[in-house]
């Protein structure tokens, strides 16, 4: 009992002491929590990723810091990658840099950047975090082109930039069924080499030293043998990562067509009794070929989403038509294309590919190559120009060969090889239907003038091997107010009309 009484006394003492000091203990605890919270707040890189710089003779990566919703890059790191910072001076909230003949000034929490006394504005403020000056990624498109002499190719939203004259290759992906597996065909715009590795149940196809810019990052397949194909270059090494649906499958990769096509066959191993599980046998298996009685019958595949290729006309040094107040066709059509892309992706019915990345000017053949290698279901080219005094107005064009009719017979079997400059010819009837579907949607918009559909020798449509139309909005010319064309509602209406037109076009493109 005595010890119990003694323990009871100790407990009472403790409770008493806690009551006496509860206020100060609470205050101290709260202070520690707030201090830790504040520390974490200021140092929070919520996510961290890499940004790849493809330079003329090298490539390098820099870490991307994500603060809030904005991606940031280390300013000094960027400049030292593309050139050399000669000197820098840091004051309380300002950083001055000398870079070649240029002087650059940035301030913490300020969107304004001063380059050689010219004021430029970034989308988000510069940040000074953990002793490092960080600039939002749009620094690469707003400031960097003024600092370096080489051409820069950067697509907003991407985590890679190409500096110098070397054009990056790109690729399109196609999935084919085999009797005992699946074949992924990756068609590149330039020849390359590859090496194979396996890690964590996935196959990795390293794509050599060639700079590669994917038009799409990931391809999901509804197939019993392969789940997805993903492009990754986060460590500066371009590679394709192929994820099989199940374990126990074999991969047989091979290059074809002089290195421009990477064929990857994913096959179920043949039963030992048949003796077919050799690489050579696997590689010779073609689409539709019987692959042995042991192989599972290829399940019917849900077709992959149809590809819509959107082509924003002009770009780079080619500004196209010009309106008053510096409104340029290349920028206007890029705005419209972004809205159309967003509207199409929202339907989840289409894959959307753009022909130009940022403010670049691919030539007409490169634009057609994007559509043709992606096996586009539809190609739409966007332009702006003088359509007379009735503004806003939208004109829809189909391709008309300058030389008049073609010798192409729509009823004859399609030749194996089409002349490049006649690729559009077999699709003229479909293109006309697509144009009619769009014209019907546009004619419902009382506030927009449109029609009739006009055949015209539009160069960019000539080599597109798919139903293709060109859309011109107007009037964009020096004596007409461009405000109606810049209006977001006008642009959104065009985007909605295109979505409805694709739905109506042959019951939806396929």
């Amino acid at each position: 009992m005595g010890s119990v009484a003694k323990d009871g006394c100790k407990l009472k003492d403790l409770i008493g002491a806690f009551r006496r000091h509860s206020r100060s203990a609470f205050t101290a605890g709260l202070g520690i929590l707030l201090g830790a919270g504040a520390l974490l707040w200021w140092t929070r890189p919520l996510r961290s990723d890499n940004f790849v710089f493809y330079l003329p003779a090298a490539r390098d990566v820099l870490p991307v810091r994500t603060l809030g919703e904005t991606s940031y890059l280390p300013l000094v790191g960027v400049l030292n990658l593309v050139g050399k910072v000669d000197a820098l001076r840091e004051s309380s909230n300002k950083l001055s840099l000398w870079y070649g003949d240029n002087t650059l000034e940035v301030r913490d929490n300020n969107r304004k950047v001063t380059l050689n006394k010219t004021s430029l504005k970034l989308s988000e403020p510069v940040r000074f975090v953990n002793g490092q000056w960080l600039v939002p990624v749009d620094f690469l498109s707003v400031v960097l082109p003024r600092l370096v002499k080489e051409p820069i190719e950067y697509r907003a939203g991407d985590k890679r930039i190409f500096i110098g004259s070397a054009k990056p290759a790109t690729f399109a992906v196609r999935l084919e069924s085999l009797a005992n597996g699946a074949r992924v065909r990756v068609e590149f715009t330039s020849p390359l080499t590859f090496q194979t590795a396996a890690r964590d149940g996935k196959w990795i196809l390293y794509l050599g030293d060639r700079a590669i810019e994917p038009l799409e990052q990931k391809f999901d397949f509804d197939n019993p043998y392969v789940s997805d194909l993903r492009f990754d270059d986060q460590d500066g090494v371009p590679k394709l990562i192929l994820t099989p649906k199940t374990s126990g499958l074999d991969l047989y990769p091979a290059l074809e067509e002089g290195g421009k096509v990477l064929r990857a066959d994913i096959l179920k191993p043949a039963a030992p009794a048949t003796g077919q599980a050799t690489g050579a046998a696997a590689q010779s298996a073609g689409p539709g070929q019987a692959g042995g009685a042991e192989g599972p019958a290829a399940l019917p595949q849900r077709p992959t989403l149809p590809v819509v290729v959107l082509d924003a006309g002009h770009g780079g040094s080619d500004s196209g038509a010009q309106g008053p107040n510096g409104v340029l066709e290349k920028n206007l059509v890029a705005q419209i294309v972004v809205r159309v892309r967003t509207a199409l992706l929202a339907t989840q019915k289409y894959r959307v590919i753009l022909t130009r990345m940022g403010d670049t000017d691919p030539d007409f053949d490169q634009r057609a190559i994007v559509a043709d290698t992606a096996h586009a279901a539809v190609f739409i080219s966007f332009h702006a120009g003088n359509l007379g005094f009735r503004s806003p107005r939208v004109a829809v064009y189909t391709f008309q060969p300058p030389g008049g009719g073609s010798t192409f017979d729509p009823l004859a079997p399609r030749p194996l090889l089409m002349p490049w400059n006649e690729a559009q010819t077999p699709h003229l009837a479909e293109s006309q239907k697509l144009a009619q579907a769009l014209e019907e949607q546009l004619s419902r918009l009382s506030e927009i003038q449109s029609g009739p559909i006009q055949p015209a020798p539009v160069r960019v449509l000539r080599s597109v091997d798919a139903p293709a139309i060109a859309i011109e909005v107007g009037s964009l010319e020096p004596n007409t107010d461009p405000a109606p064309l810049l209006d977001s509602q006008f642009q959104q209406k065009i985007a909605s009309a295109i979505v409805s037109a694709l739905d109506a076009f042959e019951g939806g493109v396929s």
Binding site: G313, H383, A384, G385, A395, P401, G403, P457, G474
Partner: protein, 199 residues
């Protein structure tokens, strides 16, 4: 320094600053303004071509001028003393189009566009070789370029029966487009669909 001297200094500075601003504006204007050759020069060229046909009777010629508002070619007739040779006639039609519409329709060929040479091949292809400076003078756009090209092609083929198609060259070379839109890699045949049903 006296107050008078200070005043003078300020005055001089203001004048220098104003002068600099004016010079800057002048330079900007000079840079942005394109050379606009006069209509008179076009008429001179037309007269030069007409020299070949001084004794020929006047003939009615049908020209097609663009209407950007309607997206069509509008017909216009005028009297010309056409030369004997088809090559000279091609040049005459070109210069008549360059001179512009008498009824206020659009101009298919911008003032300043120079025809370096014209010739007619045995297969009926008329080659029009424009000076390099002509390209940027055309108004860019699918509609405007299409109308400009067919205005020339249709006018040539309508008035000179031996011309079956027209091929455009720039400085003697084939070019891809007129001003970023219309395909010039092939010879053009006339497009009758661009004319309104009732002229």
């Amino acid at each position: 320094m006296t107050s008078r001297a200070k005043l003078l200094t300020v005055l001089v500075l203001v004048i220098v600053a104003a002068g600099a601003l004016y010079l800057n504006a002048l330079m900007h204007r000079l840079r942005s303004e394109r050379a606009q050759p006069t209509e008179a020069s076009a008429r001179t060229k037309l007269a030069e071509a007409s020299l070949h046909a001084q004794n020929a009777p006047q003939e009615s010629v049908t020209l097609f001028f663009p209407s950007n508002d309607q997206g069509v070619l509008l017909q216009e007739t005028r009297q010309l003393s056409l030369a004997a040779s088809d090559t000279d006639r091609i040049r005459q039609i070109f210069l008549a189009l360059l001179e512009g519409s008498a009824q206020g329709h659009g101009a298919p060929i911008p003032a300043g566009a120079e025809l370096r040479s014209a010739f007619l091949a045995a297969d009926g292809t008329a080659y029009l070789d424009l000076a390099a400076g002509a390209l940027p003078l055309f108004e860019p756009g699918i509609g405007t370029e299409t109308l400009a090209v067919y205005s020339i092609v249709d006018s040539m083929c309508y008035n000179i029966p031996s011309v079956k198609r027209v091929k455009f060259l720039i400085q003697g070379q084939e070019v891809e487009t007129l001003d970023g839109h219309v395909d010039l890699t092939e010879a053009f045949v006339p497009d009758t669909s661009l004319k309104p049903s009732t002229p």
